[in-house]
Amino acid sequence: MSTAFLTSWKVRIGLGILALFCLLAVLGPWLAHSLLGLDPRANDTSVIARPPSGEHLLGTNQFGQDVLAQVIAGARGSMYVGLLGAVVGTAMAILVGVSAGYYGGRTDAALNFLTNLFLVLPALPLILIVTGYLQGTGLTTIALIIGFFGWSGGARTLRAQALSIANRDFVRAMRMLGERGRRLVFAEVLPHLTGLIASMFLHAMIGAVMAEAGLAFLGISDSSAISWGTMIQSAQQQSAVLRGLWWWFVPPGLCIALIGTAAALVNFGVDELANPKLRVARPASVRRTKRPARAGGGA
């Protein structure tokens, strides 16, 4: 299964890009500082808003800061928000969705109500209010808020899936054996949802990266932190578009777009893996007598 997953070129490219950015997030500051001798925060007043050159590969911004160094430093900020937001969002989706689907009854009714509530809540204004209320919005706070408001869609999908799996005979059989609820969820139900959860996690990660950029663009960010979002925001504040300082806002924008593309590519592979129809088509399961034999199907 995993070998088939990795043979797809889409998955390989997607995973490659994601790995590159993760590496950049982890090693970036050290790379910029030690290897390139750049400091993303240092203001060099002698080079203000310069286009890319040999000395500053991606040029400098209005404040005389090196854009390359900022993109590298921003990777850590953006990836941090993306990962943390995705972890929080996915964890909540699993907790609420799988519990609702597996336990059913009143638990389901209550959790489903909560899910629907969050689905229809206008997330953006709420985030604005919450961040306004919480003074001093660091990247962690932003990530937590993004995760907290972004789990409902995933929970809904997971609930439907968990519901159908919990009613399958093999779960019934293990329950009849005396297997306890928590183990049934983790050993029998959840493993069937891994494909779905992986794809949800990737979606959530792109979502969080973009949301962070969007929030920063609206001015909700920690101005002292460096992320691709804050870079774009300050470029916008300084009218970089009007002034044609494209090297300031294109690199961070491109990075966000690249992460999105990579996540989408990996998702294709996950889809192929998680699609139950592809599993059914295995030759081993053709040997059933009572299934309707479709044209070309069960020989």
Binding site: P283, R287, T289, P292, A293, A295, G296, G298, A299
Partner: protein, 352 residues
């Protein structure tokens, strides 16, 4: 009645004439590196008005055979060899269905050959009234038929299978499983085909309904004179229904013969094993063992006779030589593909 008239119009051809001749039909599934041969070198002749039963386990190639016969197969299944000769009622030279394009095939579907599937839900459109589906089929063949007449015909056809005329306006889900299956049979008969292929039409219904459906098929066959290829895994059912039975194993016909002869004196160990896989309803009980082992994986078929790994009577050469269908027993038309039959006389003591 119009339906009978439809048949009488040109059914001057005597019973006993061939309606379908299959010669060396081979179907492969082009998946993976090696094509899987689901049907190898299948040959048989179906006579006018005859019921031929095809029995075999899942994986024996019986469903593949049906989709190939009706030309309903889809990739990756490909007919790689053989011919399916259809003899029309009009005495015209036979047509090879394998060679026909999809447009030409359309002329033969419903009017010459139709199919009844295992699940009627697959054959009937769930969002169309039963009558509308009949009307579609009827008017596709005969454009001069107006709507009202078509609906009347639909009601007549349903009456043939014992469904009252007021059900014409029902949707498929409003009918019971048995009624749907009967409606599917009526639909298959709508354009007076000479051959109806039935793919396990009674597997999804209960025994009582199964008996009703079989009784109706027999009655309609008597009244209308079409031939039937009836595919099932239930040999005991075929013995009551079919004139002749063909037994398939691993994509080949291993034995074919008149139903009673095949049941009372099977000439292939697999046929015998299959026969003895059904406990009797009234006869004294004895320990039955079925057939040990599992059907072969067609991606890696056994050498020689495909049945030899499961066969209790395998002898030298069974794993090397592929037996061919040879006439056996006193009954004409009884053929079996087993090496045991080739060594004269010995067989009588060993099988049956």
């Amino acid at each position: 009645m119009t339906v009978q008239a439809e048949y009488q119009r040109s059914s001057t051809a005597p019973v006993g004439q061939a309606v379908l001749e299959v010669r060396g039909l081979t179907v492969e599934y082009a998946t993976g590196s090696v094509p899987v041969r689901a049907c190898s070198d299948v040959s048989f002749t179906l006579h006018r008005g005859e019921i031929l039963g095809v029995a075999g386990e899942s994986g024996s190639g019986k469903s593949t055979l049906i989709t190939a016969l009706t030309r309903l197969q889809r990739p990756p299944a490909v007919t790689t060899g053989g011919e399916i000769l259809f003899h029309g009622r009009d005495g015209a030279p036979p047509v090879d269905l394998v060679a026909l394009g999809s447009k030409q095939l359309r002329r033969y579907r419903w009017t010459a050959l139709s199919i009844v599937l295992q699940s009627a839900m697959d054959a009937l459109n769930p969002v169309m009234r039963i009558g509308a589906q009949f009307t579609d089929v009827l008017r596709a063949r005969d454009r001069s038929l107006n709507k009202r007449d078509a609906w009347t015909r639909a009601a007549e056809l349903l009456a043939l299978v014992g469904i009252s005329a007021d059900r014409v306006r029902d949707y498929p889900h409003q009918l019971s499983g048995g009624m749907r299956q009967r409606a599917a049979i009526a639909l298959a008969l709508a354009c007076g085909p000479e051959l109806v292929v039935m793919d396990e039409p009674t597997t999804a219904v209960d025994v009582v309904m199964q008996r009703q459906i079989l009784a109706q098929v027999l009655r309609l066959r008597r009244e209308l004179g079409f031939a039937v290829i009836f595919v099932t895994h239930d040999l005991s059912l075929l013995l009551e229904l079919a004139d002749r039975i063909a037994i398939m194993y691993a994509g080949r016909i291993v034995e074919v013969g008149e139903a009673a002869a095949l049941y009372s004196a099977p000439k292939h160990p697999y046929t015998q094993g299959l026969r003895d896989s059904f406990p009797p309803l009234r006869a004294p009980l004895r320990t039955l063992n079925g057939i040990p082992g599992t059907p072969p994986d067609l991606r890696r078929p056994p050498t020689g006779c495909a049945f030899h790994p499961r066969c209790a009577r395998r002898t030298e050469g069974c794993d090397e030589r592929l037996p061919v269908l040879l006439p056996v027993g006193p009954e004409p038309g009884h053929e079996a593909a087993c090496l045991l039959n080739e060594t004269d006389g010995e067989m009588e003591g060993r099988i049956g």
